[in-house]
Amino acid sequence: MAVKKVKTKDKHIKNLARIVESPRSILYHEEDLISYDCDGFTLHRHLPKAVVFPKDTEQVAKLVKYCDDNELPFLARGAGTGLSGGAVPLNGEVIISLVRMKRLLQVDLENRYAVVEPGFINLKLTNSISDKGYYYAPDPSSQSCCTIGGNVAENAGGAHCLKYGVTTNHILGLEVVLPNGEIIEIGKDGVPDRPGYDLLGILTGSEGTLGIVTKITVRILKTPEAKQTVLAYFDEVTDGSQAVSDIISKGIVPAALEMMDKTAIEAVESASFPVGHPRDIEALLLIEVDGISAGIGEQIEQIMEVCNNRNVREVKVAQDEEERGRWWANRKTGFGAMGTISPDYLVQDGVIPRSKLPEVLNRINQISDKYGLRIANIFHAGDGNLHPLVLFDARNPGETESALKAGTECLQVCADVGGSITGEHGVGIEKKEEMRFVFSDDEIMAQTDVREVFNQKSLLNAGKLFPTPGRCVEVKIETKEAASV
C-alpha cells in the first residue's frame, strides 16, 4: 500500500521502492539526493539516481539483482566518511545505503569474535564490550561515526594499527552479496584459513568494487592491562624522526607512535581540543605503550631516554586517563582543525619506509615552497603513514589546482622512495591516476582481472580505483570546477 506514495514516473524507482517495502526507505527527489552527491572527498560530486535503505541481506540481494537485471549502475555506502571518493555516484548510481543494517548480531567473548551488520558504527563495538574488558582494535580517526562495513571496504587503519594491524588483520568472516545478487558466506563462525583462495583478504580493501558486505565477523581483543602515553616536544624535526627510529630499534613495539609538525600543532591548538603544546617547537611525538602493567614502566623509561638523547625540549607521561584522552582528542581531530588556520585543505595519505622520514619531510618542504602553499604534517610515524595536509584558499584563482598538484607531488615522493600512495584512505576517485606511480600496466591489469572475476558487468561502483586511460586531464579539470563552487 505504502508504495503508492512514491510519486514518480520512473518505473525503476517504483520497483526499487517495492523491494525495500516502504516509501520511507528510498530517496529520489533531487533535493534529497544532494546530500549523497559525495562522501568525505568533496572535490568531486555527482547525483545518484536514488538512495535505497534496505533492512536486511535479502533486500540488498534483491536490489542488487534488480540493478543487475536492468543494467542500472549501483554502489554501497556506509556513513560516507571515506576520504577518497569511493562512495561518490560517478555514474548516477543507485546508492544502497547500509545505515539501517546496524545491528550487533552476536558477541562471543570466549571465542573472541563478534558479528555485526555493515552499518554498525566502529566505536559502538568497543563501547558494547569494553565493560567486560574487550575491544575492537582498528580505530580510524572517524571511528565515532564510520561504519564497520565502510572500514572493510577501505581496509581502514588508525593510530593503533602499528601494533595491532589494520582492518584486514581483524576480519574473520564476511557475508557478501555478489554483483549478480548471489549471497555467499566466507569464513563462517570465524573459523580461520578455510581451504580456498583468501577471498576475505581480497574483498577487504576492495573499496566496494567486488561485492556488498552484509555481515561481518570481526576479531575482538582483550583490553591491555595497562597503557601509558608519552608526549615529546622537539626543536628539530630530524631529532623527532630519529627518535622514532631509535624507539623501534630498541625492540619496543609501541601501540601508537604519532607525529605532528609545527603547522599541524598551530592548527590543533587553535581548534576545539587545545592541550597547550608550545607553538614554537618543530615537531611533537605522541607515543603509547600498552600491555602487561609490570612491563610498561621499563619501556617508558627507555622511550624517555631515547628522546633525551635526541635533544628533546620536553618529554612527559600522561598522568591519568583524562590527560591521555585530551592528548588523543587533540590528535584525532587534527584534520578538521586545519579549518581554523586555512579556508580549505587537502589531505594526502602516502606511506614511506620509516627510515626515509627525514628525506621525505625535506622534499615535502620543497613542494610547499614551490607552490607557495603551507603543508601541515600529521602522521602515523611508526608505520611511515604520512598525512600531508595542503592548505589553500579555493577563492584564490588557481590555488585549488596548485594544491592538487602539490598533493600529487607529495605522493610521487612517497612512491619514489619505495612507498605507497595510500596507507588507509583508499584510492577511490582521488588517486586513480596516481596508481600509475606505483603499478605498471601489467600490475593494474592483474587487479582488473580480479575485479572481472567478481564484477563482470562493472555495474558495481565503476570508474573507481584504477586509472582510466585518457581520463586523467578530464577528471582534474572537473574536480577543480567542483571545488571552486
Partner: protein
C-alpha cells in the same frame, strides 16, 4: 621421447647444469616432475613458465619439499620447478624492520641471519631447516605462536609473482601499511602455488623478545571441563600468551614425557612482564603439574616441536603410513577436537599425536599406522569436525591415499569464484594442476 624434448627445450632456455632428468620414478608422495629445473633468477623462472604455458606443459613447484605430500592428484608433472637454488636475502632494512628474500631461502637461514640484528619473522612453521619461505607462504603455514603474532597474511607486505604467461607483477610494497589497489598479496598466500610462482617476498619483522618462557601445565585427570575453565579464566585475564596450545597425551608424552593433556603457554615480553604472567598461572587454581622453561630451554622444546610433523623430504622406510591434518574450528572447540583425536587413537589402533591453539582455532593431527586405519580415522575425525562447523585438510598423505580421500574436504559454496580466479590467471592449468581445493 617427450622427456627428451622437454630436456632439450629447457636446456635452450637456461644453463644445462640447472636442468636434470628425474632419475627416480614414482615418488610415493607424488608431485614429481619428469624433468627438474633449478632456476637461479626471476628471468629464468619467467622463461620456464612461459615455455610451459605456450607448449601445453605443466609444472609442479617445490621449495624445500617438506610439503610434498600436501595436496595433488598426479604422480608427476612434466616439469618440477625447484626453487631450492633461488635463495638469499635481497634487502634487509634494519631500521624499517622489513626483509626481502628469495623464495628458496629456508626459514632457519632467515631467522639465523635476523637473530644477529635481534629481529625475527614472527612465524613458526615446521621443519625450519628445510621449509622455504616461499613454501610456507604458498601453504599458509602457521604454528602455535599464531596466537601472538598472526599468520603469513599478517606478515607478508609485498611480493613479486611470476604469472603462468611469464609476466612478473609486484604486489604490495616494502611498507607496513598500504591500501593502494586490491590487496593482491592475499591472493597468493595459501594458494598452493596454483596461481603464480612467488619470486620475491617482503615481510615485516618483529624484535626478538627480550625474555621468553614456556609454561607447561599437564592435567593428570584429563578432565576437559577443568582445562576449559582454566583456559577461559586465562583468556579473560589481561595476560598476553603468544601460544596457548593444547597437546594430546600422546604428543605430550613424546615431547615432555608426560602422558597427559598438556597446555603449552608461551610468554614473550620484557622479563618483569613474563615473570608476572608466570606467577599469574602459578597462583591460579588448577590441579595441573606445572613446569616452566625459560630462555634457551624454551627454544629446545620448540625445536623438537617443529619436527613432529611428517617431513615430505624424508624417504619412507617402513610400511607404516603417516598422515598429517590441519583442522580449523571455533577456538574453544579445539578441546573437543584434540579429545576426539585421542579417542580415535585406540579405536583405530593408531598412534595419533595432536595439538591445537585455543586462541586461534587451528589444530594439527599426526596419524601413524596401517593405511586403512589411517584413512578410517581421518574420515571419522572429518565427520566429527564438520558437524562442529569446522574443516579438515590433509597436509600430508601418500599419493595413493590422496586419490582415495579428498585432501580438501567439501568445496565451499563459493567455489565458482575460486575456479574463475584460477582460469583467469592460469587458463592452461600450467601451475600445480589439481593440487588445490576442488581439483584447481
Amino acid at each position: 621421447m617427450i622427456v627428451a624434448d622437454i630436456l632439450t627445450d629447457l636446456k635452450s632456455l637456461i644453463p644445462e647444469g640447472q636442468v636434470k632428468e628425474e632419475e627416480r620414478q614414482n615418488h610415493s608422495l607424488g608431485n614429481r616432475g619428469q624433468v627438474t629445473v633449478y632456476p637461479k633468477s626471476e628471468a629464468e623462472i619467467a622463461s620456464i613458465l612461459k615455455y610451459a604455458n605456450e607448449n601445453g606443459k605443466n609444472i609442479s613447484v617445490m621449495g624445500g619439499g617438506t610439503k610434498r605430500g600436501y595436496g595433488g592428484l598426479v604422480e608427476t608433472a612434466d616439469i618440477l620447478l625447484s626453487l631450492s637454488d633461488y635463495k638469499g636475502i635481497i634487502e634487509h632494512t634494519v631500521g624499517d624492520m622489513t626483509l626481502t628474500v628469495r623464495p628458496g631461502t629456508t626459514f632457519k637461514e632467515i631467522q639465523d641471519y635476523l637473530a644477529e640484528h635481534d629481529q625475527k619473522v614472527s612465524l613458526d612453521p615446521a621443519w625450519p631447516e628445510y621449509a622455504t619461505i616461499g613454501g610456507i607462504i604458498a601453504a599458509n603455514e602457521s604454528g602455535p605462536k599464531r596466537l601472538g603474532y598472526g599468520s603469513a597474511r599478517d606478515v607478508v607486505i609485498g611480493m613479486k609473482v611470476v604469472y603462468p604467461n611469464g609476466t612478473i607483477i609486484r604486489t604490495g610494497a616494502k611498507v607496513v601499511k598500504n591500501v593502494a589497489g586490491y590487496d593482491m598479496n592475499k591472493l597468493f598466500i595459501g594458494s598452493m602455488g596454483t596461481l603464480g610462482v612467488v619470486s620475491e617476498v617482503t615481510v615485516k619483522l618483529r624484535p626478538v623478545p627480550k625474555h621468553e618462557s614456556l609454561v607447561l601445565l599437564s592435567f593428570p585427570k584429563g578432565n576437559m571441563e577443568e582445562i576449559r575453565s582454566f583456559v577461559i579464566d586465562l583468556l579473560d585475564a589481561p595476560m598476553e600468551p603468544t601460544s596457548l596450545e593444547l597437546l594430546s597425551p600422546a604428543l605430550s608424552n613424546r615431547l615432555i614425557n608426560r602422558a597427559h593433556y598438556t597446555l603449552a603457554i608461551s610468554f614473550e615480553d620484557v622479563e618483569k612482564s613474563v615473570h608476572y604472567q608466570e606467577n599469574f598461572i602459578n597462583n591460579s587454581e588448577h590441579n595441573a603439574e606445572v613446569s616452566i622453561l625459560r630462555q634457551k630451554e624454551t627454544q629446545a622444546f620448540w625445536d623438537e616441536f617443529y619436527t613432529i610433523r611428517p617431513n615430505g623430504t624424508e624417504l619412507i622406510t617402513n610400511n607404516e603410513t603417516e598422515a598429517a591434518l590441519k583442522i580449523g574450528i571455533v577456538n574453544l572447540d579445539v578441546l573437543k577436537v584434540i579429545k576426539e583425536a585421542h579417542v580415535l587413537q585406540d579405536a583405530n589402533n593408531l598412534v595419533i599425536q595432536a595439538h591445537g591453539g585455543l586462541g586461534h582455532g587451528l589444530c594439527q593431527v599426526i596419524l601413524k599406522g596401517a593405511s586403512d586405519d589411517v584413512v578410517a580415522a581421518i574420515k571419522q575425525l572429518r565427520y566429527f569436525v564438520v558437524q562442529l562447523g569446522g574443516y579438515v585438510t590433509i597436509t600430508h598423505l601418500p599419493l595413493s591415499l590422496r586419490q582415495q580421500i579428498d585432501v580438501w574436504g567439501e568445496q565451499p559454496s563459493y567455489f565458482f569464484l575460486l575456479k574463475q580466479m584460477k582460469s583467469k590467471i592460469d587458463p592452461n592449468n600450467v601451475l600445480n594442476h589439481k593440487r588445490f581445493v576442488g581439483g584447481i
